[in-house]
Amino acid sequence: MNQKTLETLAPWLFTIAMFAIWEAACRIFRIDPFILPAPSEAFVAMAQHWRALLRHSTVTLWTTMAGFAIAVAFGVVLGLIVGWSRTIYRGLYPVMIGFNSVPKVAVVPILIMWFGIGEVPAILTAFLISFFPIVVNVATGLASMEPELEDVLRALGAKKLDIMLKVGIPRTQPYLFGSLKVAITLAFVGTIVSETVGANAGLGYLIALAGSNFQVPLVFAALILLAVEGIAMYAVFAYAETYFTRWAFRSSMSAAT
């Protein structure tokens, strides 16, 4: 087996090895399945309850994507505004940091009071938790523009809007896509937090319910599915990043340094 195929297989090998060690540890140390079920038990539970798991993971996936979509739209707009003007940056930044420091789990009860049990609080929590990195990265992309390039354009009579459209926004792309990978995983956290606190569907709800019924293997089955969804969405945005901003990887912005 050559180096390249080994590299392609590495993620799979590591995943399999992790499950193997987990399985072995449960058997060797005779761990109570009530404390930590072996992965085989989790997979058995997955097979038994596949209908429920499919339904709940679909709910979690779509609420996460909905919240994430709002976060992208809102984050990009706010990032452009913050990166546009120093005054807005100064004024808004402390507020945003304060907002981001509030644990979202504390906000969920309020959202449930406002919108009732259901998908809306989950979507909003996913949005609230994931927009911050997008704003920061988009604003950084704009703010780190080369001053000389700005001079070249300003000397030609370019307005601020011209500079943003021709240089600022395109050069923000790699920053944006980098932040999407962080934001999508955060969005899952938001959805699950909200579903755990109060919902009637979704993997978070299922985990809370199965936990209170002492169906620990089912809890782990749901956790594994959640991890799979997270990895899949991360992969989608990692691919989008390399696809849309190939120039940034090729040049590693070296033309600008």
Partner: protein, 262 residues
């Protein structure tokens, strides 16, 4: 007679957190139309501030700058600029980088969409003059540093500016590439006939290219010496090894050593 660029008694103060820095004080300089002027001086003497003043990016605190009869009160729009760093946009092909000024400056801006083919042809011709024939469809990262700087010169010239401002454009290049680009710039200037202000550290570069060399003092910067270079044109690189050339360089060197002491 008035010059093309007329800087009279200009003062510029940079306001920083730790108090203002007097960058230029009582600076005067006159450059005629079509002249190739070089500004040399010790580092930190405000040469780059002078560029920003002339292009109208920074307003002077005192004194006035007149370009072609108009007092500078904002970005001048008839200038092209190039810096030590080529600053090409990595997501645009070389030719689209060169075309960037036309998307901004009037009247090209309005005509750009309809006459795109014509403008592209114009950019192709310009790229060919600097030896980048066939590189237009490549991306900047596929080009060497010297080639990127050639493209940057094209971008500064595509809108046919009457004034070309260069801030140490060749400082980051190796010696051979630098001399190659001297000749590229010399040929462009002789062919098109724009006015050039070249800010540089390199005295040989100034002597080889310029009609007149202006020495600036340490901060606050002032012009302390202006020297006409009467070497015949067209100049070849061999001239750098002739006695009259080295005399000029020596004279400039002595003057700069003296202002650095002061």
């Amino acid at each position: 007679m008035n010059g093309f660029v007329d800087i009279s008694n200009v003062t510029l103060n940079y306001k920083g957190a730790s108090g203002g820095v007097l960058a230029l004080q009582g600076t005067s300089l006159r450059i005629s139309r079509g002249e190739f002027a070089a500004v040399v001086g010790p580092s930190g003497c405000g040469k780059s501030s002078l560029m920003k003043l002339v292009t109208g990016l920074v307003p002077a605190d005192a004194g006035e700058i007149v370009i072609f009869g108009d007092k500078v009160a904002g970005p001048v729009k008839i200038a092209g600029m190039a810096f030590q760093n080529p600053n090409l946009l990595p997501w645009r092909k070389v030719i689209d980088n060169v075309l960037l000024p036309l998307e901004i400056v009037e009247p090209h801006r309005r005509r750009f969409r309809q006459h795109k083919q014509q403008y592209r042809e114009q950019a192709r011709v310009l790229l060919a003059t600097v030896g980048l024939d066939g590189f237009g469809e490549r991306y900047p990262w596929e080009l060497s540093g010297g080639m990127q700087q050639r493209a940057s010169l094209c971008r500064a010239l595509i809108h046919q500016p009457a004034l070309l401002m260069l801030d140490e454009p060749f400082a980051a290049l190796d010696a051979f590439t630098r001399e190659e680009l001297w000749c590229v710039l010399r040929d462009l200037w002789q062919e098109i006939g724009f006015t050039v202000v070249l800010v540089t550290h390199d005295l040989r570069e100034a002597a080889f290219l310029a009609d007149s060399i202006h020495v600036m003092s340490a901060r606050p910067g002032r012009i302390v010496m202006s020297k006409a270079v009467d070497l015949p044109r067209p100049r070849e690189l061999d001239i750098c090894y002739e006695a009259r050339f080295t005399d000029i360089v020596h004279e400039l060197r002595a003057k700069i050593a003296q202002v650095r002491q002061a």
